[in-house]
């Protein structure tokens, strides 16, 4: 009971923060709203027994990526934008409306097909850090996991080689 109340509470926070991202005038306020949205989503993941995803959500999205966003915004010195005149249907806003409307219809159709099913019983260790650690370091996915770290190393070397002023 208390879990589902909390779930809906955090979902509400996420939605309000999400709307705030696109309605704020100042880019910094938008970015901070996004941080709130990420934290609320992380809390939702915890409610859904996806502990590892929750931790990664906070570390990677709310932590690293948002810091990057805010740095870029501050360094590029983006000004507050003038709000577009409401009620005018330009080609661009019409296109955006059309696409988001279509996506919304698709989303509702998918949700409608899922929402009436009773969720399957999860294995006891599902989504825990232990289960994921077993799969990554002791099971099938050891090599891909290590190969991804090689991939990131290569990407980093590449960025330095191409971007550093003097090599």
């Amino acid at each position: 009971m208390i879990e589902s109340v909390l779930f809906y509470l955090f979902s509400l926070v996420a939605i309000v923060a999400g709307v705030s991202v696109i309605t704020q005038r100042s880019p910094i306020a938008s970015a901070l709203s996004l941080v709130v949205c990420f934290f609320a989503l992380a809390a939702d993941y915890v409610m859904l027994d996806a502990h590892f995803v929750a931790v990664v959500q906070v570390l990677v999205y709310a932590g690293a990526i948002m810091v990057l966003f805010i740095f870029v915004i501050m360094l590029l010195n983006i000004r507050e934008t003038e709000p577009a005149a409401m009620g005018q249907l330009t080609a661009r806003s019409g296109g955006a409306l059309l696409i988001s409307g279509l996506l919304g219809v698709a989303l509702i159709a998918v949700l409608d097909s899922v929402v009436h099913q009773t969720p399957a019983e999860l294995p006891a260790e599902y989504g825990t850090i232990k289960a994921i650690g077993e799969a990554l370091f002791n099971g099938t996915y050891l090599l891909p996991f290590e190969a991804v770290s090689l991939l990131l190393t290569v990407g980093m070397i590449g960025a330095v080689v191409l971007a550093k002023r003097e090599l």
């Binding site: 002791n138 050891l142 090599l143 891909p144 190969a147 190393t153 290569v154 590449g158 191409l162």
Partner: protein, 491 residues
């Protein structure tokens, strides 16, 4: 630590990959410590690494196929053959790169580190038995090669080439990954044997989703091997990139992509081949025609070789299509794909060894075909070596390219792909013209060509042209090896 021994077994089985990755990291650290880069130790260490890896692969050949890392890799004759091909291409590219990079004024230690990482990614693709591993290896290779393309930052064309390759490559990788996701959705696995098993049991749950996934995989691989209609990037990227990098792109990247493609088409989708073959047929036919015909109008040697690479991707896809169509297993020519791949890598390595010498005194690439005029008189060795490579590319005897094309076309006809073989023959006939045109310039035009002096490039050229002639006259040993390797992925 209960499961340590099996992991150790896997590490030993995958020793070639481990060695390349390890030495890549070592050179990366060394490049940060030793500045400016001491040329000889870096070049020597990377050549030695690739040569040692080649020995490791050779030591592993002849053993029965085994799986490593819970089925992520499959160490079999097919993998070993293509790993050897990729490493040979890497070795020849390294052979020409030291003095070439010095001529164009790039002295960056990370160059060698990135080459080793790219080779490691290629080996991962060649041995990979799981779509997830294929994708990650492909990205390791691609990202290293994007950077290598743009490593001469002062050259706008090189930067443009790297950027173009990066943007389009990133798109194609995303499409490939999307395809992997759909195949996973339809069959419930990313492991190739499990996918093959599901297809044999009746095609999985959703044939539409599977077909969509297959089509997206085809697009992704089609981009990497530069097949029509996903070939538009190749000429600009090949031309702009440093010649030593182009050599690696034209041979190693293509070989690894074809090998991974082959594993997916033959190993996993083999029982669904009818769906694949329609698309493969048209792509192979269009690639052979467009590549060969577009090359006719080019005057820059690197662009000619880019289109020639596109045309050869078409021949290799024809082989893939005929092996996947079945029937090829009986006519003894299933090794044609592997055999031709080796021939292609050797003739490209030799040709690019000459192209790497065509730098101006300002350190720019100048590979216009006019600059070959008079080469036959002033540099008889270079002219003779390049001629052997060109004759082999054109598919004329007594070279390896002739034997390769012969087996390729007979395999296609044996598998019932007569129409495709006919289209390929038209393309190859057009190819003779643009491959022989540089020879006309070298031997029949007057001029005083200005070539850089580099003993190692001459060594690379001498070795490749000798091998092309030897294997052209005595192909049986390589053919047996090639047939055995293809048989191992079929079985």
């Amino acid at each position: 630590m209960g499961s340590a021994p099996p992991v150790l077994d896997s590490v030993i089985l995958a020793a070639p990959l481990m060695l390349l990755a390890l030495m890549g990291v070592v050179l990366m650290v060394a490049a940060a410590v030793f500045r400016p880069m001491p040329r000889l130790p870096f070049w020597g260490a990377s050549c030695l690494t690739v040569a040692t890896t080649l020995v490791l692969v050779a030591l592993g050949s002849g053993k029965p196929a085994t799986e490593a890392f819970s089925g992520m890799l499959r160490i079999d004759a097919y993998g070993n053959f293509f790993a050897a091909v990729v490493l040979v291409s890497g070795l020849f590219s390294l052979l020409i790169s030291d003095s070439y990079m010095e001529r164009i004024g790039v002295r960056v230690g990370e160059f060698y580190s990135l080459v080793l990482f790219a080779l490691c990614g290629m080996l991962g693709m060649v041995y990979s038995n799981d779509l997830m591993m294929t994708f990650i290896s492909l990205e390791v290779m691609s990202i290293a090669v994007y950077v290598l393309c743009a490593i001469k930052r002062s050259d706008d064309r090189a930067v443009e080439s790297g950027f173009k390759y990066f943007i389009l490559g990133a798109f194609s990788s995303a499409i490939l990954l999307y395809g992997v996701a759909f195949v996973y959705g339809a069959t419930g696995s990313t492991a190739l044997p499990a996918i093959a098993h599901t297809l044999r049991e009746g095609g999985g749950e959703a044939a539409g989703i599977l077909a969509l996934g297959g089509a997206l995989l085809l697009v992704g691989f089609g981009f990497k091997v530069a097949s029509v209609p996903f070939h538009m990037w190749a000429p600009d990227v090949y031309q702009g990139a440093p010649t030593a990098v182009t050599a690696l792109m034209a041979s190693g990247v293509k070989a690894a992509s074809i090998a991974a493609f082959g594993r997916v088409v033959i190993g996993a989708m083999g029982d669904d081949a009818s769906n694949w073959n329609g698309a493969l047929w048209w792509m192979a036919a269009a690639t052979m025609l467009v590549g060969n015909l577009a090359a006719l109008a080019q005057n820059d040697l690197k662009r000619i070789f880019a289109y020639s690479g596109i045309a050869h991707a078409g021949y290799l896809m024809m082989a893939l299509s005929s092996v996947a169509a079945g029937g090829a297993a009986e006519n003894g020519a299933i090794g044609s794909l592997a055999f031709y791949m080796l021939a292609y890598v050797l003739m490209n390595a030799g040709a690019f060894a000459v192209l790497a010498l065509m730098t101006t005194s300002e350190g720019d690439d100048a590979t216009d075909i006019d600059r070959l005029a008079g080469l036959g008189r002033s540099h008889p060795f270079l002219a003779a070596g390049l001629s052997v490579c060109l004759i082999s590319l054109a598919g004329l005897p007594p070279t390896m390219g002739f034997i390769g094309k012969f087996y390729l076309f007979s395999a296609a006809i044996g598998a019932g792909e007569v129409g495709l073989a006919f289209v390929g023959a038209i393309g190859a006939a057009a190819g003779v013209y643009y491959y022989l045109r540089p020879m006309v310039y070298m031997y029949m035009r007057e001029g005083s060509p200005d070539m850089a002096v580099d003993g190692r490039a001459r060594l690379a050229l001498g070795l490749t042209s000798a091998l092309l002639l030897i294997f052209g006259l005595m192909p049986s040993a390589i053919l047996q090896w090639a047939n055995a390797s293809m048989a191992s992925v079929l079985g």
